[in-house]
């Protein structure tokens, strides 16, 4: 991908972000629930209606919609996402503290997923319609049909309650508390991805060069790892980028199940507390992370597929 293309992509990302920001702002604007009341309820005192109206006025909550949106957007661009109503701290500080745990969880589950699904998918493709292929397909089929939060709960029941190996609550955020949440995420992702690996590898196995190489007596494991696998990498990386989207959504559910100290968990509690600035910040941040990852995926094509470099 040339610099020009990357620039075009960045511009496109900005437009999408603008749309997302408008949508989230619109939603929180229309939402029921009164943030000022919630804010005071958190302190335990409910003042008179006049006082609350004054606070609303000073926070700019009585201004017209577009004025509020413009002001909010301007602040966001300067890195100021406002102050959380519930915590009384800047949204940036709150999200930053939770960013690394979530990214770490995402990356770790992705590694787990790759370790499981790439060999399984290739095995299943090579032994197409053999017993092992049916077995892999059956397992992955069950995997995609399981609700991931339920898998989390069952793992918890098994490893924390029955045998007591791992902590029930992952609020510590250390490595031990990451095992179950990432395993939960990896099970669902791996089931989907194994099927995609299988399809991609099957596609390559049907190419003529495979028959050619076999005819010339090249060992089949060499064909598989040195030719077929590198050639099927391109679709696999694309799908990996896309699956990170569902991984980021999945983390919020799994983080809640395990009380893991990540962004998703924070966002869910923010939603229940009508903490608008925090929700807006979270949605925007996730959008940015997701888009950046997909941009990286696109750039990585340059290295994976030499044809892309020639194309310009």
């Amino acid at each position: 991908m040339s610099m020009k293309k990357i620039g075009a992509r960045l511009l496109q990302m900005l437009v999408v972000l603008l749309g997302i920001s408008f949508l989230t702002f619109l939603l929180t604007y229309m939402a029921p629930g009164d943030p000022v009341r919630t804010m005071f309820a958190a302190t335990g005192v409910i003042p008179s209606e006049e006082v609350m109206n004054e606070v609303r006025e000073s926070m700019g909550l009585n201004d017209p919609f577009l004025v509020q949106y413009g002001r909010w957007l301007g602040n966001c661009l300067r890195g100021n996402f406002g102050e959380s109503y519930a915590y009384g701290k800047p949204v940036v500080t709150l999200l930053l503290a939770r960013l690394w745990p979530t990214l770490r969880l995402t990356l770790f589950s992705m590694v787990l997923m790759l370790i499981v699904s790439v060999p399984l998918g290739m095995l299943s493709a090579v032994y197409k319609n053999k017993l092992i292929d049916y077995f892999v397909r059956l397992i992955t089929f069950f995997g995609v049909s399981l609700p991931n939060f339920w898998v989390g709960l069952m793992l918890m029941l098994l490893f924390c309650v029955k045998v007591n190996w791992l902590p029930v609550i992952s609020s510590a955020g250390d490595f031990k508390s990451m095992i179950l949440p990432s395993a939960t995420l990896a099970i669902a992702m791996a089931s989907k991805y194994t099927r995609q690996v299988r399809t991609a590898v099957l596609e390559e196995l049907n190419q003529d060069y495979v028959i050619g190489a076999t005819a010339r007596g090249v060992k089949s494991w060499k064909i598989l790892w040195l030719n077929v696998f590198p050639n099927s990498l391109l679709p696999l990386i694309t799908m990996l980028g896309l699956s990170i989207g569902s991984l980021l959504g999945g983390t919020s559910v799994v983080e809640v199940v395990f009380s893991y100290p990540g962004m998703g968990n924070l966002a869910v509690s923010a939603i229940t507390a009508y903490d608008y600035p925090l929700i807006q910040g979270y949605v925007l941040w996730v959008a940015v992370i997701y888009m950046l990852i997909n941009l990286l995926v696109d750039i990585s094509y340059n290295y994976v597929d030499p044809r892309m470099r020639l194309k310009r």
Binding site: S145, P147, V253, V268, A287
Partner: protein, 275 residues
């Protein structure tokens, strides 16, 4: 092909449609299946009882029969899921056909909105939307529909674009076919097969996402019997009463497996290219 042979020829489709119909019938006739036990009223004296002959799935904290609640839960899950799938199918297809047929600014506006939705992790936005609108099944349906219609729009658009410039379309326009007629008689039938397959395979996914929303507390509200919500309510009793969590989860799993298989076998019938 004769009609009698159809079900014999596609055994897997037949088998899973029978299972699917059974599930739907169970949901409709829930009061009969559960012998009139109420899903929302229990006897506090019999709270948190393990599975027994009387309560085969046990009871929850309020003494409500879990089996009854699981059966009634099928009503909520199935009706909400089908509503979402029908909404996204209709809205997505319609917008996609309009974008493909008219092109120009209609296309630009619709597809840029679709791009925006696709360039974003769906469940995150759905959680935010459902949470902000307030917890209810209706709002969960709105939230999921809002983020899921784009797939249909893209597919429908690309299918329409394939035939838009063919001669028979131009001929129909020249001979005076009105636009609505063009859309419904020419464009829509061309998209329907692919989109029905997509919708059928989407049922399982949507069901899982709806139950995730309920589990987080952004869907069905207590005391409604809903599987995701039941799992959430059972969570504090993971140690004392694991049956609260095991059975609703198995229910989701079974229903999703059946509808996923149904979708897959339908695709095999309608789209033989795939294999």
């Amino acid at each position: 092909m004769k009609k009698q042979n159809f079900f014999l020829k596609y055994k897997s489709f037949t088998f899973f449609s029978i299972l699917g119909i059974l599930i739907i019938l169970t949901a409709i006739f829930a009061p009969v299946v559960t012998k009139g036990v109420s899903p929302t009223e229990g006897n506090l004296l019999f709270g948190l009882q393990p599975p027994s002959a009387e309560h085969i799935f046990g009871t929850d904290k309020l003494g409500r029969d879990i089996f009854t609640r699981v059966i009634y839960g099928a009503r909520t899950s199935l009706s909400a899921t089908f509503t979402v799938v029908i909404i996204i199918f209709l809205v997505g297809t319609m917008l996609g056909i309009l974008a493909g047929y008219f092109g120009g600014w209609v296309d630009i506006v619709i597809m840029r909105i679709a791009d925006m939705m696709i360039a974003f992790p769906g469940l995150v936005l759905a959680i935010a939307v459902a949470g902000i609108l307030g917890a209810s099944v209706k709002n969960a349906i709105i939230a999921l529909s809002l983020v899921s219609w784009t797939k249909y729009a893209r597919l429908a658009r690309s299918l329409v674009l394939k035939i838009r410039n063919r001669d028979f379309v131009a001929a129909a326009i020249v001979t005076g076919s009105k636009t609505p007629y063009m859309l419904f008689r020419y464009m829509f039938p061309n998209t329907i097969t692919t989109l029905v397959i997509t919708a059928a395979t989407d049922i399982g996914t949507m069901m899982l996402e709806l139950s995730s929303l309920s589990f987080l507390g952004f869907g069905a509200k207590a005391p409604a019997p809903e599987w995701g919500l039941m799992l959430n309510e059972g969570r504090p009793y993971i140690q004392a009463a694991p049956w609260l969590m095991i059975y609703p989860g198995i229910a989701i799993f079974i229903v999703v497996v059946v509808f996923n298989m149904l979708g897959d076998s339908l695709r095999d019938i309608l789209d033989p290219r795939d294999e």
